[in-house]
């Protein structure tokens, strides 16, 4: 019997090596695999290359991983945010390498890795500094820049629901990078609110088929849902609103 579920987040992230390239899903709080990131910090792997849209914010999640000195390089589209002070300091101190990638190229390069594409001609970035040194090509009257796949050893992503085969459904804009990262990593580790019996997910609505998933861990229902129904009571970061504390 195929059963990709593991009992806890420590087991889920076991075996991640120093020097690994790790894709981390999420865009803002939406789709952030918060519990898996905490488990990765506890697990201790270092010299990591992280692929994420951003470079951490505040003092938790990715920012905490950076603050712990575990990250050698980050590949992202938007490292600089109001509250990205951890990254900012590391970057200014020359303690972290940055590969800046336009967001669409980032998503498409990750998709290419999962789809077996060796490279593709992108319309984005042509004539800009982010295409400096890259091959360009005129195709059918338009100029494109050659971009290569981004692969990873591990993807850490968050979905709403899984079954034991690893089929995933997401929730609203929390889907974001999850599906493409799941396909681009050698080992895809997923935190979900709940694991449902095989056959409970609508096969028309499965977004990530199970073959892309290696380990699934249930971390309990997100704070703003109850039995799958939205109940609110949180801010955009998912923290309880004052009147609810």
């Amino acid at each position: 019997m195929i059963d990709k579920t593991v009992t806890d987040v420590a087991t889920a992230v076991a075996g991640i090596d120093d020097g690994a390239t790790i894709m981390v899903g999420g865009f803002g709080r939406a789709g952030e695999p918060a519990e898996l990131i905490d488990a990765l910090i506890a697990q201790g792997a270092s010299e990591l290359t992280i692929v994420n849209n951003n470079a951490g914010s505040g003092d938790t999640g990715l920012a905490a991983l950076l603050a712990a000195g575990r990250v050698r390089k980050i590949i992202c589209s938007f490292p600089r945010q109001n509250d990205s002070w951890v990254f900012d300091q590391l970057y200014r101190d020359g303690k972290i390498e940055l590969e800046l990638v336009p967001q669409g190229n980032l998503a498409e390069r990750i998709r290419a890795a999962g789809a077996g594409i060796g490279g593709f001609y992108s319309p984005t970035g042509v004539g800009t500094h982010l295409a400096d040194g890259k091959e360009t090509r005129q195709l059918d009257g338009r100029t494109y820049v050659l971009e290569y796949p981004i692969r990873a050893d591990v993807a850490l992503i968050s979905a709403r629901t899984a079954d034991r085969w690893g089929n995933l459904v997401y929730r609203k804009t929390a889907r974001n990078f999850g599906p493409v990262m799941a396909a681009a990593a050698t080992a895809t580790i997923v935190q979900v609110d709940e694991v449902v019996p095989l056959g409970a997910l609508d096969p028309e609505a499965v977004v990530t088929p199970g073959l892309y998933v290696d380990r699934v861990v249930a971390v309990g229902e997100r704070r703003w849902l109850r039995d799958g129904v939205f109940v609110g009571g949180v801010d955009v970061e998912g923290r309880p609103r004052k009147e609810h504390v």
Binding site: F27, G28, R29, A30, G31, S77, F78, P79, R80, Q81, F87, D88, Y91, R92, L98, L100, V101, P102, Q103, G104, N105, A107, E108, I110, R111, S122, P123, T124, G125, V126, G127, T128, H129, L130, T143, Y170, R171, K172, T173, A174, R175, N176, F177, G178, P179, V180, V207, R222, W224, F230, G232, G233, V234, D235, V236, E237, G238, R241
Partner: protein
């Protein structure tokens, strides 16, 4: 009358130009204001590049859903008829030229329609681009929403961009607080003057010579 319109009036002016049925991406910052002025009698579909077409207005605070945000990471809602998709599908939608209109901010726009809006190239600044370069080259019509002049009084409409480029020959129209300009074959063409601006006055402010729109141009 003043020589300038305020930001909300400008947002409303842009909104008035967006036709029924258009699919539209509003960039982070001032362009987001355009959403507030879309004519209620027109169905216009807002796209947010983090995976939603058919975005609705912000929810009341008690209904903030961390799983339902826009590209600026602000809480939003979804209209009846919305659809969710993943990041690669979402950017394919833009990069494949399927959006009708994109409204972006700018540091500079050149006469050729080059856009600089992601970096001032200041030494020591941490670079961050997000979806700006994809938005700039993706939509059928790329509208810029900006003040005509910087706080230092320098024109943002310029012969050649001096700041790092976001995209080449991508801007189709510039909505400023002084006037609306089309990017035309021979340079900027004044499409509409606000307040008591004149073409001569704007040429003096910008140091540019403007192309003349053909009579009867739309």
């Amino acid at each position: 009358m003043s020589t300038k319109i305020d930001r909300l009036t400008l947002a409303a002016r842009i909104a008035a130009d967006i036709p029924e049925g258009a699919t539209v991406n509003l960039g982070i910052g001032a362009p987001t204001l355009v959403a507030n002025f879309l004519p209620p009698d027109r169905e216009i579909l807002l796209h947010t590049e983090n995976g939603l077409l058919g975005m609705g207005p912000p929810p009341p605070n008690v209904e903030i859903d961390p799983d339902l945000i826009n590209a600026g990471k602000q809480p939003v809602t979804a209209l009846a008829g919305a659809a969710y998709f993943h990041h690669a599908d979402s950017f394919a939608m833009m990069r494949g030229g399927h959006l009708d209109v994109c409204v972006l901010g700018a540091f500079q726009v050149s006469q050729a329609g080059d856009l600089s809006n992601w970096s001032t190239g200041a030494p020591g600044a941490i670079p961050a681009v997000g979806g700006a370069m994809d938005l700039a080259i993706g939509a059928k019509n790329v509208y810029v929403m900006t003040d005509l002049l910087t706080k230092q009084g320098e024109s943002k409409l310029i012969a050649e961009c001096s700041y790092p480029l976001t995209g080449l020959r991508c801007v189709t129209r510039v909505y400023t607080d002084h006037a609306v300009f089309d990017v035309a074959a021979g340079g900027f063409a004044v499409r509409e003057l606000f307040g008591h601006n004149t073409v001569d006055h704007l040429e003096k402010l910008t140091g540019l010579t403007f192309a003349r729109l053909e009579a009867g141009a739309p």
